[in-house]
């Protein structure tokens, strides 16, 4: 990646390679290279890229490549072509979920979508229903009405074991670690690896070490009793244990509460790492600073009801606080004048 400037001769060689079809790997799986433009030909203004996106392969020639027709299609479908992120298909979708404890409505017709490669933060005041929501997904609490969909198909999550089989893992606020056992034993608690009917300690330790390395947890030794670890390390172990079954969705209930700054740093880095590994993370937290640092989307609960949901880049700290406290009932907060989004139009220079 640190190749030097090939100079003109290098460029010519590159071009010959591209033209003759014996290009590098890069050219092979990316047939439309930028080479036509980097060589200095006037770029054709690709207006259609502003409407349908710049994915050439995805646009068969014909109607879709006609910018106006595509735009008209979009309008006819009622979807504005700009500023609306393409919705990703959620792994888990909660529809109109309600939970009642006696006379108390803990959750009242709550919706939640979680897609892979995404950190969704659920925020709200105390008793807003955040933990109940997580427990519904984890199969600990049964909803009194509403539908849970996994990959688009409705499911009933009757118990935590079923949630695990569906690829959902939860790390509870109280972590549920056995302090007297070491790291390995905690990771494999209830799912010990056996060898001829005996515990296969060697294999478990080896797997534990590899697993902790993979998710980037900073643990000195897998033989340390968990009771001797710091808060952040304990949180890492709990997350690692949840990750052991290769879940697709991980629910974290207040992972940074009562941690020191270094430990918070460890956990936040770990959350980002999980996201980069393609996992969906539901982060329940009081700490808006942490939430805004790692989450892609925020969902606000208030008195057990949805009180707004938005992409993190669309809302400010104050917007979230306003939604949490009930000063507004929607996110993103509507402005008096719409601020136009910055759009990246490479052909502008040519036009101007």
């Amino acid at each position: 990646m640190t190749t030097r400037d090939p100079g003109d001769a290098g460029l010519v060689r590159r071009h010959l390679r591209l033209i003759s079809g014996s290009g590098s790997d890069e050219a092979a799986h990316h047939p439309v290279t930028e080479s036509d433009e980097i060589e200095g030909l006037v770029p054709t203004p690709r207006v259609y890229s502003r409407v349908t996106g710049p994915s050439w392969e995805a646009n068969p020639p014909g109607r879709a490549s006609n910018p106006l027709a595509a735009y008209a299609d979009e309008l006819a479908r009622g979807t504005p072509p700009f500023a609306t992120p393409r919705p990703r298909r959620p792994i888990i979708a909660l529809r109109q979920i309600s939970v009642g404890f006696g006379g108390v409505h803990a959750l009242d017709q709550v919706d939640l979508d979680v897609a892979e490669h995404e950190v969704v933060a659920v925020v709200g005041e105390n008793a807003a229903g955040k933990s109940t929501l997580a427990k519904v997904i984890a199969g600990v609490v049964q909803p009194s009405s509403g539908v849970i969909e996994v990959d688009g198909a409705p499911v009933t999550i009757t118990d935590p074991g079923m949630a695990r089989r569906l690829g959902i893992a939860m790390v509870f606020q109280e972590l549920a670690l056995a302090d007297n056992l070491d790291v390995t034993a905690n990771l494999f608690l209830g799912q010990e690896r056996l060898h001829h009917g005996l515990l296969n300690v060697l294999e478990m330790e080896e797997t534990a070490r590899r697993h902790l390395n993979k998710i980037g947890a900073r643990i000195t030794s897998v033989r340390t009793p968990v009771g001797q670890l710091s808060g952040g390390q304990r949180q890492s172990i709990a997350i690692a244990r949840a990750m052991l079954g290769e879940p697709r969705v991980i629910l974290l209930d207040e992972p940074t509460s009562s941690l020191s700054i270094t430990q918070t740093a460890e956990v936040l880095n770990l959350i980002q790492r999980l996201r980069d590994l393609g996992r969906a993370v539901v982060l329940i937290s009081h700490n808006l600073g942490d939430v805004r640092a790692v989450a892609d989307r925020v969902v606000v609960l208030r008195h057990g009801q949805n009180n707004g949901s938005a992409a993190m880049s669309d809302v400010s700290y104050e917007d979230i606080v306003a939604a949490v406290t009930g000063a507004v009932s929607t996110l993103p907060v509507p402005r008096q004048t719409a601020t136009p989004r910055v759009s990246f139009t490479p052909s502008q220079a040519a036009e101007g």
Binding site: D5, E26, A293, P340
Partner: protein, 397 residues
């Protein structure tokens, strides 16, 4: 450390590998006992004990008796010579803190994701707490910390020590940043623009090592440049030199945070790139953009190439004025390698003064995301002045 050529698989190379493993492990945890060290490295305790003795003798690590669970234990840390300095880097979305001894060896390092539009007060609190925590983890005394250098991704006024143009980093406006951190840590604090620090690091220890005149271009959430000319960073009369991100790229373009129109950062920066991918790719982060470009996503590659061309035109103007030997590109976008660098090279070459020699040398930085914090360490080391009598004794002695 090594003497003579090493043969793979030989006893010597094995021992070298084990020594390196032990030093790396100590570095990543700050300090640990010999027993923990054996567990963490997977080496036998006898091997660890022997290697630690050797390393103590060589002055690389220091040991101290302590107790764990009521049993005697030997606590091992990297040896510190004469004191510590700290480097802090606040980028738009990440905080990185490193501690180094006076020989420049980094002894501890930590990072923390930040929210966009982060605020100075909580940010500085967190940085100060991190430093205190890290000092505790390597069992250093408070007096050992001699100097701190903080890098910030905004132009800084040399007169007031505050941000030069309000609005660029909203949460930090109008604050005398060095004074605010000095109040928290009670050590002298130096502040600088992060691109300047990146330039310093790449020119002292990275891709610009052998050049006398280097432009360091940082393409991250923002776009900045550090100018390293004849061994020194050029800061300009007021401290705002090198603000390539605020060069005008489109006079009718969108309004920038700085108040001007069509700044390079607004038309070619990460925000513009991610915004243009939003309708098709959804909400991406800069790291997603880089990852997807590596995977071959045509949209992401296209956007990176377009951005490189816009930046190339601005870079060419800088090169026409300064005529640098080399341009070093750092920041997250540099991780896409030639996807970004190739169009940048071509456009820069096309817009610079043609001459007899080869076109300008544009390379990726060697230090990656750690360039700025490394530069902060260098700057802090350069600012340390203490009367010799007051120095704490070196542990390794």
């Amino acid at each position: 450390m090594a003497s003579g050529p090493l043969v793979f698989g030989s006893q010597t190379s094995l021992r070298e590998a084990n020594r390196a493993r032990i030093v790396e492990t100590i570095k990543s945890f700050g300090g640990l006992t010999q027993v923990e060290l054996a567990d963490a490295t997977g080496l036998s305790s006898a091997t660890v004990s022997i290697i630690v003795k050797e390393l103590v003798h060589a002055g690389i690590v220091a040991t101290r008796s302590t107790s764990r669970n009521g049993r005697r234990a030997i606590h091992v840390t990297l040896a510190r010579r004469l004191g510590l300095v700290a480097g802090i880097h606040f980028s738009r979305r990440y905080l990185r803190v490193a501690l180094a001894d006076l020989s420049g060896e980094i002894v501890a390092e930590h990072g923390l994701p930040l929210s966009s539009d982060h605020r100075a007060d909580t940010g500085l609190d967190r940085a100060a707490l991190l430093i205190t925590d890290m000092m505790t983890s390597i069992e250093a005394e408070r007096e050992e910390l001699l100097q701190v250098c903080l890098g910030l991704s905004a132009p800084l006024s040399s007169a007031t020590g505050a941000i030069y143009t309000p609005g660029i980093l909203r949460g930090w406006d109008g604050l005398d940043i060095a004074a605010a951190l000095e109040q928290r840590l009670h050590v002298p604090v130096l502040i600088d623009n992060d691109a300047n620090l990146g330039a310093l690091a790449e020119c002292r220890a990275g891709a610009g090592r052998e050049s006398r005149m280097v432009v360091y271009l940082n393409v991250n959430e923002g776009i900045g440049a550090g100018l390293y000319l004849n061994g020194d960073i050029v800061r300009g009369a007021t401290g705002a030199a090198g603000e390539i991100g605020h060069m005008s790229s489109d006079e009718n373009g969108p309004i920038c945070y700085c108040g001007n129109r069509g700044c390079l950062e607004m038309v070619a920066g990460s925000r513009a790139m991610l915004e243009s991918l939003r309708p098709t790719h959804g909400d991406l982060r800069l790291s997603d953009l880089v990852a997807k470009a590596h995977e071959g996503d045509p949209g992401c590659r296209r956007v990176i190439g377009d951005s490189a061309r816009r930046i190339g035109i601005a870079l060419a103007q800088v090169c026409n004025i300064l005529d640098p030997e080399r341009v070093v590109v750092g920041g997250a976008i540099a991780a896409t390698g030639d996807l970004f660098l190739d169009p940048l090279r071509v456009v820069t070459a096309r817009h610079t003064l043609p001459g007899e020699g080869p076109s300008i040398d544009i390379v990726a930085g060697c230090l990656g995301e750690r360039a700025e914090v490394t530069g902060a360490i260098f700057a802090a080391l350069g600012a340390v002045t203490v009367p010799a009598g007051t120095l704490p004794l070196a542990r390794s002695a």
